[in-house]
């Protein structure tokens, strides 16, 4: 028997695989394909304090082994998410992470506080790394001091464990990770998308209405693995790894690099069964590479 379980702050995971924020809506659509209780956890689309419309279309473009998106945090607002979406997810026996976004520190705090009301959320994922909004978001993700301050503020009000989701678009990911760890983060999510642009040759302008977008998918996996690998050497809080995961082998690569759990984003679009298929394959892959459990593989890719 291969033990897939892993225990993270607020998240008793039966397996380490969860759909990534923004790539799974609030779960309703994937319910048509499989039972969501199979998942390790579910990460919801980003919540802001007020309903947000997001950016103009086109919002996605395809790239080599990846895609760009500039959805821009479209969501019905935290109140509606709590009222309409969480009861749906609560039907399933699966932990829920709420992805928290905002354009000011106050907004992050208010969204985080709003989630205090509900038991249907197990942890927060503080999204200080969304490249697709004009204000906030990304600034908090590039300045270690601002990131720490925000983390501390959210920790102060929230009764949920807080995972801080970092941006890869920085010179020094380790500085950011250490900074938010010190500020009280319970865990890290690595990585959000890499900022990119595609130019429409016919239109002679960026294809995305927002001009820039976030690159995701297998193209960015080496960048994600690098950041998990580097950060792991400098922090002791758990890391949820993501970026380009499409197979159980990819999951093991993240575990070896130092992730304690993983999120799957873009792969859901290519194959709606990605998450359950990866979970089904994981025991075989772990065994093949000599592991009996997920926890046994975490961080084992570091030269000793």
């Amino acid at each position: 028997m291969t033990d897939l379980s892993v225990n993270l702050p607020g998240l008793p995971l039966q397996n380490p695989v969860m759909p990534a924020s923004g790539c799974f809506g609030f779960g309703r659509e994937y319910r048509d394909f499989y039972d969501l209780s199979q998942l390790g956890a579910v990460v919801m689309k980003a919540a802001t304090s007020q309903p947000s419309c997001g950016n103009r279309t086109p919002r996605v473009a395809e790239t080599a082994s990846g895609m760009l998106n500039a959805i821009g945090l479209q969501n019905p607002g935290v109140k509606k998410i709590i009222a309409d979406e969480l009861p749906f997810l609560a039907q399933y026996d699966v932990p829920v992470l709420a992805n928290v976004a905002g354009s000011t520190a106050d907004e992050y705090v208010s969204v985080a506080s709003a989630f205090n009301e509900t038991k249907a959320v197990n942890a927060l994922e503080l999204n200080i790394s969304c490249p697709n909004v004009k204000e906030g978001g990304i600034q908090f993700g590039t300045d270690p001091d601002m990131a720490a301050e925000l983390t501390a503020k959210v920790k102060a009000v929230s009764n949920h464990p807080v995972y801080v989701k970092l941006s890869p678009n920085v010179s020094d990911i380790v500085a950011l990770a250490k900074s938010v760890e010190k500020a009280g983060a319970d865990g890290l999510s690595l990585i959000n998308t890499v900022t990119g642009v595609q130019i429409d040759l016919d239109g002679r302008r960026p294809l995305l209405a927002n001009q820039t977008g976030g690159l995701s998918g297998p193209a960015i996996k080496p960048v994600a693995i690098r950041m998990v690998y580097e950060v792991k050497q400098h922090v002791s809080i758990p890391i949820i790894g993501m970026g380009g995961i499409a197979t159980a082998e990819d999951v093991l690569e993240f575990l070896l690099a130092g992730a304690s759990a993983v999120a799957v984003g873009t792969a859901n679009f290519q194959n709606p069964y990605s998450c359950p298929e990866i979970i089904a394959n994981l025991p075989r892959v772990l065994q093949h590479y000599g592991f009996n459990s997920v926890t046994g593989a975490i961080g084992k890719g570091h030269a000793t």
Binding site: E29, F33, T57, R59, I71
Partner: protein, 250 residues
């Protein structure tokens, strides 16, 4: 909607840069409603391609798609050989709402590669006893496809942008030749849909829209369009691709 394998039965060019592909899958053939689409995975690509269902054959379990080779995905698709398997999500989206009690005469308005779903719709309407007229616009003579097929459904007006066949101009230039109708069904580029809905004013109608998609199932918010009512954005992949004319902001 299901995740299925479809077997390529045939691929053939039917107009300039335009192909007809027949795919075998009983489930899709039986479930498909006019206006729905297939979300197809083409080898070597991250994102699926949405392509409308242009025809079905229930007995043979066949589904037809018609597509223009506008980029690498459709070019590769055109190169698939009979026997190849295609990874498909479908039938996806909501089809055209058509109540035969209230619709006795229908007008199909198609522009270019917006024409394919209208053929499937027209066949279905004809079967339901609805009187069908079609106005189809193409870039030029070389781009025209399925003309004879539409003529078997009802009176068909063809216009071309360059006047190389049929009427010269846009589909809107031909609308005044069509008599009274109960409902119109339009599919084509946004500027065409904008012109058509304006021209036909309060006339009841349905329009089918295109947008770049991420998931194709309603989960990613890539394919949204603002709506006139307070529900905010609608998702083309899940709430559409067909909307009542006037519901969304073009």
């Amino acid at each position: 909607m299901k995740h299925v394998d479809m077997i390529v039965k045939s691929v053939r060019p039917i107009a300039l840069d335009t192909y007809e592909m027949c795919l075998q899958n009983d489930y899709i053939a039986n479930m498909a409603q006019p206006g729905q689409f297939l979300h197809l995975l083409v080898d070597g690509h991250t994102l699926r391609r949405p392509l409308s269902i242009a025809n079905t054959d229930l007995v043979a379990g066949m589904v037809t798609i018609l597509f223009k080779t506008t980029g690498d995905g459709t070019r590769r698709l055109a190169a698939y050989m009979p026997g190849a398997r295609l990874d498909v999500l479908g039938p996806a989206g909501n089809g055209f709402h058509r109540r035969s009690e209230t619709i006795k005469t229908a007008l199909l308005i198609g522009g270019g590669i917006g024409v394919p779903p209208l053929y499937f719709l027209g066949k279905d309407l004809q079967k339901k006893g609805v009187h069908v007229t079609a106005v189809l616009g193409f870039q030029s003579n070389a781009h025209i496809f399925y003309e004879q097929m539409f003529r078997q459904l009802g009176k068909t007006y063809i216009v071309t942008n360059d006047g190389s066949y049929g009427g010269h101009g846009l589909v809107t230039d031909a609308l005044d030749q069509v008599g009274a109708i109960d409902h119109y069904f339009a599919c084509g580029p946004v500027p065409m849909l904008r012109a058509v809905t304006q021209e036909l004013g309060s006339q009841a109608g349905s329009i089918s829209l295109e947008e770049r998609m991420g998931c194709g199932i309603g989960a990613c918010f890539a394919c949204v369009i603002p709506s006139h009512n307070d529900s905010g954005y609608r998702k083309i992949c899940r709430d559409g691709p067909v909307f009542p004319a006037g519901e969304v902001v073009l």
